[in-house]
């Protein structure tokens, strides 16, 4: 465990070292490639004056709201498409089609419908999450070996009980990977939405990034990018990884 930490830390230290070395050679102007220390300095100042916290809070709140809403709608719809042919042929096909649409494409529509509001932002995130989640849930439930349901049925389970006690738990590994994918899509959608929807209700991380570019402040651009990556990583490590580990242990699919 300690060895793994050591390897990981060493890797990132090396990465920063290379960055510093490249900076030292002065091949690119410091305006285009700031030093690691100036990025750290920016981050520090942004933490101190509160802009970074504020932006992170605004962004994460939007993300959780949109993602949560996406799951709330997507999960039941996915279960529905997996259960009936008519819903497969209607909602299923719709989801399959809309899933291929990059979430940026929802932005113009959202802007026209909702204007420069939080609702527009939320709409884009939900649209970005929803369809892939429906498809992941649908696939998950369909992949359950039919023998589970038969065994349960033979023991007297039926209807709602079979759903909650057999089909859902059996589909859990698929649901989780669907939710992980949904998370990634939600993140991307929000970043797209935050560029185009400039509103006064909240100044998100992506806005920070955007204004970094407008001001030619490369240390800000890289700093904010780092924060975005770190948030994604942190969510994966703290939210998904423990559940994943638990499932791997139960199902016996654990990697050493």
């Amino acid at each position: 465990m300690i060895a793994r930490w050591a390897v990981a830390s060493l890797f990132f230290v090396c990465l920063i070292g290379i960055w510093q070395l490249v900076f030292n050679t002065q091949i690119w102007s410091p305006l285009l490639l700031p030093s690691p220390s100036s990025v750290m300095l920016y981050l520090w100042s942004a933490v101190e004056d509160g802009t970074l916290w504020e932006a992170t809070l605004v962004t994460v709140r939007r993300l959780l709201l949109g993602y949560g809403l996406g799951i709330l709608i997507g999960l039941p719809l996915g279960l529905l498409t997996a259960s009936f042919r008519w819903s497969q042929d209607t909602i299923g096909v719709l989801a399959l089609g809309l899933q291929t649409l990059p979430s940026v494409c929802w932005v113009p529509l959202a802007l026209l419908w909702f204007g420069q509001t939080e609702a527009a932002m939320l709409f884009v995130v939900v649209m970005g999450t929803l369809w892939s989640l429906i498809i992941a849930t649908d696939t998950g439930v369909r992949t359950i070996p039919p023998i589970y349901s038969r065994a349960a049925r033979s023991m007297g389970s039926s209807g709602f009980h079979t759903w909650t006690h057999v089909k859902l738990p059996a589909a859990l590994p698929f649901l989780l990977s669907g939710m992980k994918q949904g998370w990634a899509f939600a993140w991307r959608s929000l970043m797209a939405a935050e560029i185009y929807v400039t509103i006064l209700t909240g100044f998100g991380l992506r806005h920070l990034l955007h204004y970094g570019r407008e001001l030619n402040a490369m240390d800000q651009v890289i700093g904010v990018m780092l924060v975005i990556v770190l948030i994604g990583l942190a969510v994966d490590k703290t939210l998904f990884a423990p559940v994943e580990r638990l499932l791997h242990r139960r199902w016996g699919t654990a990697r050493q």
Binding site: R153, S154, M155, G156, V166, A170, R250
Partner: protein, 267 residues
């Protein structure tokens, strides 16, 4: 010791199948799985259904379990027409149909919790009792994937026995196991059967296995599935699958089985 069971009136009849036919239709295929099958099984009897694959044995089991309905004829349990699955007739499947998201104990509890009027403490007690019976109490908190194939089938057995069904339906339950593990389980199942007096309908394509376990061995022929012949096995119990007496029976039955399978192929 000797126990000679025939489905006469002396023992109450548990299961009655009369003139049962069943078809399967897919878009390209129209197959008759069972043709005019009539069968009576006495209470507490151990009946083995033997035949090559595709002879409708598993279909018959599904009908008795209530997982499927006959197209023609009737299937009755305790004098009542079977209209759906129920805790009195439990099915044990070939591959381990254990639920990987539950522990060993959780799996055994699954069926128990579906029995009406059973308190949580009683469920737990029964589950532990049956895990003890199959020798796996030590493993009750294990995950399913941590067990060997033989242990998994033991858990499946405990899961089917726990809700106290009067009929146990076994669909090639030991098919995927190695010979040694299987022999152990033959011992277990005979012991449990003699202690708990279940009616067991056991499907297999292994004649020796059938002779080792069954009071009666019923031969099926395929396309469509029909009962061809039946044999009483009056050997004393517990039976050893390697005994000479048993081999005599299985040789005879295998000869009959081959004769009509071959004639079917030739004709």
């Amino acid at each position: 010791m000797e126990r000679l069971v025939s489905s006469t009136d002396a023992v109450p009849t548990k299961l009655v199948l009369e003139h049962v036919s069943k078809w399967f239709r897919t878009s390209s295929l129209h197959v008759q799985a069972l043709d005019d099958v009539t069968l009576r099984i006495a209470d507490g009897e151990f009946v083995c259904l033997v035949g090559p694959s595709g002879c409708g044995k598993s279909t018959l089991l599904n009908l008795i379990a209530g997982l499927d309905r006959p197209d023609r004829g009737t299937v009755q349990g305790d004098g009542q027409t079977i209209s759906g699955p129920g805790p009195h007739r439990l099915m044990m499947f070939q591959e381990a149909a254990l639920f990987p998201w539950l522990t060993v104990l959780g799996n055994v509890l699954f069926g128990l919790k579906l029995v009406k009027g059973l308190r949580a403490s009683e469920c737990r007690e029964k589950a532990e009792y049956f895990l003890e019976l199959v020798g796996l109490k030590r493993f009750m908190h294990s995950n399913v994937h941590e067990l060997s194939g033989g242990m998994r089938q033991r858990v499946a057995l405990a899961r089917s026995l726990a809700p106290n069904p009067s009929v146990l339906l076994m669909d090639e339950p030991f098919g995927a196991l190695d010979a040694l593990t299987r022999e152990q389980l033959y011992g277990d199942i005979q012991r449990i059967w003699s202690q708990h007096r279940k009616t067991i309908v056991f499907v297999t394509h292994n004649v020796r296995e059938a002779v080792c376990l069954g009071d009666r061995v019923i031969l099926f022929s395929p396309n469509p599935g029909r009962i061809r012949e039946e044999f009483s096995i009056p050997l004393p119990r517990p039976r050893d699958i390697n005994s000479v007496d048993l081999a005599r029976y299985s040789t005879e039955i295998t000869r009959v089985l081959k004769s009509y399978v071959h004639s079917e192929v030739a004709g």
